[in-house]
Each structure stands twice: as C-alpha cells, then as structure tokens.
Symmetry: C2
Subunit: 635 residues, 2 copies
C-alpha cells in the first residue's frame, strides 16, 4: 500500500510563500494541521514534511533538523516544518506524511478506503415479466426464476418468507418488478416496480470498547454515513476475558450480552438512516467484523471455550444468517454476514485489517499491529503469513494508569520533554485543560522520560540534577514524575506518571514486542527486514510511532515505513460488503494465516523478560534508540 | 400396482369349511368382514370373493350370482360369498378383493404403504472427533466439517443457530458426537454422544376437511403412529374458495388461518409423540402435502390469486424451510418441506397420490381420482400425464343434501333396493340407528333408485307402481324417496332422498365425469382403455365403485380395475419423507403433468350438460350400465 500524503501549496490562495515564514506557519494558513509538541522550537522533531517542489527556495538544514532526522531522512528530503523557512518567494508544494498530521486520527473511524471493484453479494435486477394468462399458467416462482435464470443467475433457492410477497409484488405494477439476489443464487426479495436504486449495505466493526457502523450505497460503493458508540457490554466486563467469564458464570449471561450489542447496533443503524434519510428496509446486508469473542457473542455462540487452552474457537468459517435470526432491524430477509476468524484470539477484525493493509499480497515482509486489550499481530508476505495475539491489557486505554483516561477532551495526548531543562510540553485533546492522560500520551511521556534519563532502561524512575521538583514520592511511596503541576496549564488537573504506570506500560509493550519478535523469528526475519508496519486501530493511529519505537513497542524501522491505516477493521468490513471477491480473499486468508500460541513457545518467558526493558535488554534490536541513547549519554 | 387381497382360510383354527356354511358366514367366523347390504339374499351383489383353492368344494353358481356377475367375472372365478356354500369339507383359501371388504376403509388414514428404498433427507453420523489441542487448534466448525467431508458428505453450510450448540456438544462426551445432516450438504445439528437411533420424521396430509399426521421412524422407514383431526379452518369456510375469500377480505385472515392449522399440527405431533413415547425434538423433518390453497395458507403465502383466472399459484416448487419459520414444534433446526404443486387447483397432494399410485410409470393408460370439494384427476401413463380439477362441491361430504352428514356413527353408508319390492336395505356406520346419509350412501341410493327406475336418466324421481308409500311429496312440493321410515330401523331418524339431492349429486358427478372425459379426449383414449382407476381419499375409499359407475361418475371399467389406495396423499407424503429420490420424482412429476383448465375448454358446457344424465346422455360410454338398464327394462 502506497503511503498517503497530504499536500499543500503555500503559493495557493490561502498561503503565500512569503520570505521568512516557516512551513509550519504556511501549513496552518493553508488549513493543514501539522504535529508539533515543542511549540515550534525544533526540539520534538514531530513536524516532518517533504517539500516536493520549490525546495530550493527554503532555508538550509540547521542543527535542530540534523539532530532530529537521520542521514537517510535528510537525504530523502525531509525537513522539520518549524525550522525550514522560505528564503525566496515562488511556487512550492509540500507533502505532509500521515504521521506528521495532527488530523491523521480522522482515520480513526473511517479508516483507509481501499479501492475495490464493486461486486456486492446483494444485487437487484429489474424484470418485465410475461403476465400469467390462461395460456401461460406457470406459478409465480417458476415465472420469476425462469426469467432470472435466463439472465444468467443460477437461482437455487428462494428465501423462506419471500414467497409471501411474490403474488402482490408481481402484479402491483403490471408485472414490472425488482428481484433482489444474494450471491446471484438465492432470491431474497421481490418488490413491485423499479427499486434498483435502493441498494444499501452496512459494515460493522464490533470492538470490545467501541462499535462503529458504516452505511454504504452499494450502487456506487460510497460510504454515505458513519456512526459509532461505546460497546454497551462494557458494564459486564471491560475486557474480552471478563465478558467470557460473565457468560460462563451467568445462565442468561450470553443472552444479555448478545442483546445489548444487537440493541446498540440497531440504534446505530437507526441513526445512520435518520441522518442520511435512508430506510433501514433498504439495507440488504450487514457485514460484521470483531474479535473472536465479540463475534461469538454477536451470533449467540457460547464463547466459554475461548478462555481456556487450547482456545479453539467454535467458528472459523464466515457466517451468513438471516437478519431476523439475530433481530437486526434491516430488510427482513436481508443477511448478516461475518468475516472468518483465524483463532480464539485472532478474529475477523484481524482478517479485515490484513485485507485492508494489502500486506498479504506484498513481496517483502510486512507486519500489521492492531493494538487493543488484546493486540493482534500478523506478519509475513504473499508466501507466508503468521499471526499471534498478545495480552497487552487495557493500559493503553487508560486503565491501571493512575491518571489514565480515554482519549477524550482534556486527555494529554502528546508529551515532549526538553532534555536540557526537563520542562514538559503537553498537548491535550481539543486543547482543553488537562484532565488526565490517554494511551498516546503515556507512551510519549515514558519515551521522553527515558530519552531524558528520568526513567532507566529497567523502568526505574531515577532522580535528576535538574527539574528535581517534578520528581517526587507518590502516595504509594514510589517516585512519580509530574507532567502538569497545579500551577501549570490553566485550570487543569495535576497529572503525573507513577512508577507503577511505567511498569504497566512495560508489561503492555513487552507483551506486544514478544509477539513481534516471535513472529519475526518464525519467519526467519529481522526487524530491519520489515518493509512496512501497518498501525491499525484507535491507539495505533493516535500513538506517536517514534515514541512507540523508542520504548521498544514497535519494531525499530524507519518512521516512513510505519503506515497509519486507521480503523482498518472497518475498512476491511466495507471491502467485504462491497465485494464477494474480498470475501473469498478473507476466507482464503483465514485459512492461510498460521496462528502462533505465544504462551506455548519455549522461549516465551525469556523473550518477555527481555522485552520488559526500555527499549529491550538486547539494545541492538533497536539501533535507532541505541544511537539516540548514545547522544543522550554524550549530552 | 398389484391389487391387494385379504385372504382367509375357512379351514383354519377359527373357521372350518363345514358343509352348508356360506363363505360369508365362514369369513365372519375368520374375522374378515365382507360387504353385503341385502342381508345375504344374493341381491345386492356386493360380496364378491375369489376362492383361490378348494373352489371345487363349493356349490355351483346360482341365478343370483349370474345376475350380479358378468361372464368374465364368472370365468375368472368370482363368487358371491352369501350364495357360495360348502358342499364338501376340506382345505380352502378364499381371497377377498379390497372392494368387497367392509374394512377396506381402514386405508382411509394409513393409505397404501408403497415400498421404497430408505434414503431420507435427514441423516445422522456418529463421529469420534480428534480433540482440540494446542497442536491442533482448528475451530469446532472446521474440525467437524473436515471430518464429515472426509466421510463423503459435502457440507456447504451449517444451519444458523447450530453453531451455538457445537462447543458443548463436541466436548460433553469427550469428543464423541452425532452430526445431523440435511441432504448430506447442510449440518442441521450436533449432539453429544451417540443419538443415531433417534431419527424421526413426520408426514402431514393437510386436507381442506381433515388433517392426518404420520410419525415415521426414519432408521427403518416404519410408520409408528397415525393421528388425525378436523381442519380447524372449517369455521372460516367449509371449502377452499370460501377460505381464500376469507383471506382476501380480512386483513389478518391469512394469519389466523395459518395459525389455526399450525396449532392443529402441533397438537397432532404432541399426540403422536405422547402415544409412542417419542420426543418431538427427535422429529427432524416434516413433509407436508395439501391442495394448493392449503399449501399456501400453511406457508403463510397469500392464496388470493388462486381464486381468479388464470388461477396461477404463487409457488410450484417444493419448499423446505426451518421449523422455527413456521412455529412447528419439532427439532428447532429441523425442516418443514412440501411437495411441489402442479397448478392452482392441483396441489402437492395430487402429486403425492400420483406418486403413491405408480400411475406415472405405467405403460398403459390409467387414471387417479381424488374426490373432494375439488376433485383432482390425473390421467395418462409414463409418456404423458394430464391433470385437471373439477368443482365437484361438498355434496359427497353431506353438504347441500337434505339429510346429508359426514361418515360418522349412524350415517347410512350402503343402500340396496330390492328391484321387485322396492324394499330398502341399509347399512349404517357402526350399525347404529340411522341419523342421516353420507356420501357413499347417497351415491348408492341414487344408483339403486336409477337401477329400479325410481329416478329417470334425466334425474327426475318418478312414481312407481309398487313401493308407492316411499315416494311422496317433500316439504318443497317436489317428490322424495324415503329410505328409512319412522317405523323402520330401530329408533333411527327418517331419511329420504329428495329431488334436490338427486340434482346435487348429478351436478357433482357431472363435474367429475367432465374432467374424466376431457382428460381422456386429450389423451386420445377411451374409458375402456383405462387399465386402472385409482380411487384415492376418504370418499373414493368409501364409495361403492359399482354405484359410482352406475350413476356415471367413474368411467365404466371392469370393477377389478378400480384400485382403492386410501389416503394416498398421506402415502405419497411418507414416500417423500423416506426418500429423496421420491422427492426428485415429485418435482419431476409436478413439471411433467400438464394442467387442463376445464372451464376454458370449448366443449366444456356441452360435455357437462351431457354428463348431467344418469349415467350419461351418451349411454354408449357406459356399456355396463346400458346392459343393466336393458335388464331393468326387460324385467
């Protein structure tokens, strides 16, 4: 998959390449929001851009840029937008990599929209049917099917219940009627007159925490609406495992969980249709993806056995059931379909991400990482694909973190610490006064603390000669680092990173990196062999890739190889909704992808223990960090 | 189909062939009940039997026998059981044709049981499944399907909902489980352990008036129970047309009618299971047959268009829906299947009868007649089959007949009139005092009245020189014939046949014979070409074939060519239940059988008018009757 860039032209109507102005300023004038945490001081290195024409009209590379960019990056034309400024007026085009855009988390719900040839499972055919006469007394079903099959369908079946509509539907508009087909082989509907323009589908990403629903016009493949809401199962258990336990321990547990998710989905569909002035009755198919537990609960399948070895799922194969089977309020004879699962903890959502990433078709080895309470990783290329699931826990969602919170208004989402003063620069969601810290913030914070020596490689918060007032003993008697004192940050709350917080993040990132390194070992590859790392999902989109590498969570690859694909599970679900070919691909992938049960790998414990270090006990695996650490030491 | 005989051996333990005893007496002693209305006086000619060994020990043919039997019949060894008596003791075997048995209406519910190779659509397979381990983490569905497909099934689908049972079912008995398959291609169930011996099916004959349900053990093909009840739709309309009207005129009409029949079927299934100590949960499939309107209502398909030209049904094709789709209380993932329809008024029940009769496979031309409010007729042979429906009305069920009643206790079911005295001999159901007259009784009565000259060929009741007291003016001022005066018949009611009754029967039999003659004309055949006439259904089983020929309702064929096949619709339904081959045959037949819309035949009116006569305006079509009429005239 080609990396996405946002381009802006400072010479356009809104921004002129006036001498003296930095690219950061010009971008802002052009309406493009570039990442920067250090206030444009050239310190945080987040505002990387690539002037693609008119680069000769910019200032020469300065020391701040050299410190923040590798030689390769400088050679490939990267600049820091806050440092590069216009020296002579003229035309100029600047490319902003996705990772440098503040707005890149708009991908969070929509995800990438991979182009795919439209071939949905549901289709409509307008028919002008020869009327029944005494000379032609064929039954309605024969009449309809004879005609459809003459037009190259192979109708083997009529959905039970559709028969009830046939007599009226055929005669209401003088034998002009629209037939609705599923997979070109089952007649799932017949309506009077021409209704071929009403052909909708919905894609669902049923996450443990959040449910996103997309409304897609299947006549042209366009996504016409997106809605999301929290998964209402959260009160029954924050994570997958506690919900499985709830099902196991309560007789009506599964039923309750299923009902809650179905109700939520119906409310999302209602909203989608109300906002777009469409009718739920025109939604002919819903394609859902979710992790295996969410999938099982959605379909009312007991997830109990997912919780104990060997964690075999009840269902791998893609399902397609009638909408009334689940009580989802779309067209009554519509279909609810799912993508196949891979294993008990690698579900259809991972298949969807894999499909959206394009990784399965690459010559070179790539990796997709979808971070959540369970982090799914798939690595490989067109010849071999391996997957695993890492118990990364809910720390990145703010749980078990002292001041942790979800990425809502006021959450600290970016942290940069000035290495010389230990002054802390923060950015919060919606630029509101700080209320707490979210996943991307805590990763940034620990990365910066490690970079500045506030945290040791083993994860210990250590006293510093300067900035002493920020390091203090917390209520648990262990040291903590204050990001935001009461005095700072306009009315916000005091937010600190505790010793325990550091350990939680170490555990989480160690879990992930153990998965990364195990899959690479099985593939006989090194981190540096990875041509691309696809960062999927909410956290993967928000988190700063450089920070994620710096703490040893992501494999150490050049930043431009890290591709943000947003809610790629939703993208994959829409691909499947729009294309039966994609569905075949998904089934094929779910069979092809090998599953590695990390816990039963002999070196799992030792790998995990080594990965607890920042970035890793074996620092050679993180050469970029090793180099930076060298700089820190030399500073 | 070979004619069925009941054999008895008067020399057996119960009956001895003692000299002087008539075969009628010996049969009764042997527990075989032979038809006789004239009290054994040799007059009614109903007690035909064939002594198959020891005939030389019987009395010589007497005048009464010669009068009642044709030369061919005498030559083929037929005797009247009331006249033939033993002259010398010794071994003897007597065959009683079905038509001579009083008990032959036991076929009414059971029908014939055609032998058919057992290949039901549902089957069970016992599996010993390799357990899930960390080395083999296949999902339950893959594990199950891989194993089934290795054993030559081609499972393409798992019934939605069955997945919910899989995890438990596989693990409960240490990975020994029984899979239930439909058509060897869909997995409709999985149970822990070995349940292969529980494999039941039910067949349903949903008639306009009566519903019959059969419970069949599909491990061996045996019918283990039969239950019947009135169709609870009767209060919504006695006949098909009035029920269709009820559906058309009442918003919830169809729903009500459907619910009533489904409830009735559930109660029958309950009774079947209670009586046989079986569980409804073990019934895996129900195969239903019914006329097209009953079929449509059963499946909730609006029957409205059946009522107006061109009477096209909504559905011809066989249906197979989930049991929960209709709310039929069998195995929740079981199937409810139907036989295909032929036309708006020739339904799956006619296909079932056709299949049970074997007519479709005959070299010679045959005909099946299923008499009801609508009478379905199918004629032809293995190369061509034609069908029609005749609006014969409810007269044979006792409606529109002054003293008409159903064939319940006290109904006059047999009538014989002594031609010389006009004395009336009656037999009633259960030999109870007469309460009214049922269909077979009224046909007998009119046949006898015609034979004795009490009714003219045009259907007029005419005064007679003897027996004058029985012919009188009725309350409508028209003549009527009294079968049973107040003085006669021990406390029974007075029952008469009115002029109007005769006309009702003329209309009904004319409708039927117009169908008979139209199909034969289309086939280029004559009545005498018919090698067999299969008389199906309740009335066809009860009615005396000779009387039916005498009034011109049945084609005039030698009596032995008339085969009683009882509730052959139920037989055909059981064939389909037991064999997918039979189901394919049914689909093939429903396509092959041509439908003739009688009312649109140009000579329909004139044929009908001619058929109003007794037996027919063109008496040459009824040579047997013509000969008998000659005897009457000569008398």
């Amino acid at each position: 998959m080609a990396e996405k860039f946002t381009r802006f032209q400072p010479s356009g109507s809104k921004a002129t390449s006036r001498p003296g102005a930095t690219l950061l300023e010009l971008a802002q004038e052009a309406g493009v929001s570039i990442e920067s945490v250090c206030g444009g001081s050239g310190k945080c290195g987040k505002c990387r851009v690539v002037p693609s024409s008119g680069a000769d009209r910019l200032s020469a590379i300065n020391d701040d840029e050299r410190r923040n960019l590798s030689t390769e990056e400088v050679d490939s034309g990267l600049r820091l937008a806050c440092q590069a400024h216009v020296v002579s007026e003229g035309d100029m085009v600047v490319a902003v990599p996705e990772g440098s855009r503040r707005g890149h988390h708009r991908l969070l719900e929509s995800g990438i929209e991979p182009s795919i040839a439209l071939s949905p499972a549901v289709s409509k055919v307008l028919l002008n049917i020869p009327p029944a006469t005494l000379a032609d007394i064929r039954a309605d079903d024969d009449r309809l099917i004879d005609m459809l099959n003459a037009e190259a369908s192979v109708i083997a079946n009529i959905t039970p219940g559709v028969h009830r509509r046939m007599p009226h539907a055929l005669r209401e508009k003088s034998w002009e009627a629209t037939a609705t087909l599923y997979m070109n082989e089952e007649l799932i509907g017949v309506d009077p007159g021409d209704t071929t323009s009403d052909l909708l589908g919905a894609a669902l990403d049923v996450g443990t925490t959040k449910i996103v629903a997309y409304l897609v016009d299947l006549t042209n493949g366009r996504t016409v609406g997106t809605e999301s809401r929290a998964n209402p199962q959260i009160p029954f258990g924050e994570d997958v495992m506690s919900r499985i336990t709830y099902c196991a321990k309560n007789q009506d547990g599964l039923e309750k969980l299923q009902k809650s998710v179905i109700d939520a989905i119906n409310s999302l569909i209602d909203r989608l249709c109300a906002n777009t002035e469409r009718s739920p009755d025109d939604i002919l198919e819903v394609v859902m993806v979710g992790n295996t537990a969410m999938h099982h609960i959605f379909f009312g399948i007991p997830p109990t056995h997912l919780a104990s070895a060997p964690y075999a799922p009840a269902v791998r194969r893609p399902l397609s059931v009638g909408s009334n089977h689940l009580g989802i309020d779309i067209y009554p004879f519509g279909r609810i379909s799912s993508l196949p699962n891979i294993a008990g903890f690698v579900g259809g959502d991972a298949v969807a991400v894999l499909m959206a990433s394009g990784l399965y078709d690459d010559e070179e080895i790539g990796m997709m990482i979808d971070i959540g309470t369970n982090t799914e990783i798939i690595a490989g290329n067109k010849t071999r694909l391996m997957s695993c699931s890492c118990a990364s826990g809910p720390a990145f969602e703010g749980a078990h973190i002292k001041h942790g919170m979800r990425a809502a208004t006021g959450a600290i989402e970016r942290v940069w610490i000035d290495p010389s003063t230990l002054d802390v620069h923060l950015r919060t969601v919606d630029d509101a006064p700080p209320k707490g810290i979210c996943g991307s913030g805590i990763v940034d914070a620990i990365s910066e603390m490690f970079k500045c020596g506030i945290v040791s490689s083993s994860g210990k918060i250590v006293p510093q000669s300067n900035g002493q007032e920020r390091i203090r003993d917390g209520s648990d008697g262990k040291p903590e680092f204050v990001l935001n004192t009461d005095e700072e940050g306009g009315g916000g709350l005091e937010v600190s990173v505790t010793q325990n917080d550091v350990q939680e993040i170490q555990l989480a990132k160690a879990a992930i990196f153990t998965g990364v390194s195990t899959l690479l070992r099985k593939l006989g590859a090194k981190c540096s062999d990875l041509s691309a790392v696809y960062a999927a999902g909410a956290f993967g989109t928000y988190v700063d890739a450089a920070s994620a590498i710096f703490i040893g969570m992501y494999p150490d690859v050049p930043l431009e190889r890290i591709k943000f694909i947003g809610n790629a599970a939703g993208s994959g679900a829409r691909m499947a909704l729009k294309s039966v070919e994609a569905r075949k691909l998904a089934d094929d992938l779910s069979r092809r992808v090998e599953y590695v049960e990390l816990a039963s790998e002999t070196d799992f414990q030792s790998e995990f223990a080594k990965a607890m270090f920042l970035p890793h006990r074996d620092v050679n695996r993180f050469p970029t960090v090793a180099r930076a650490a060298g700089q820190i030491v030399n500073r």
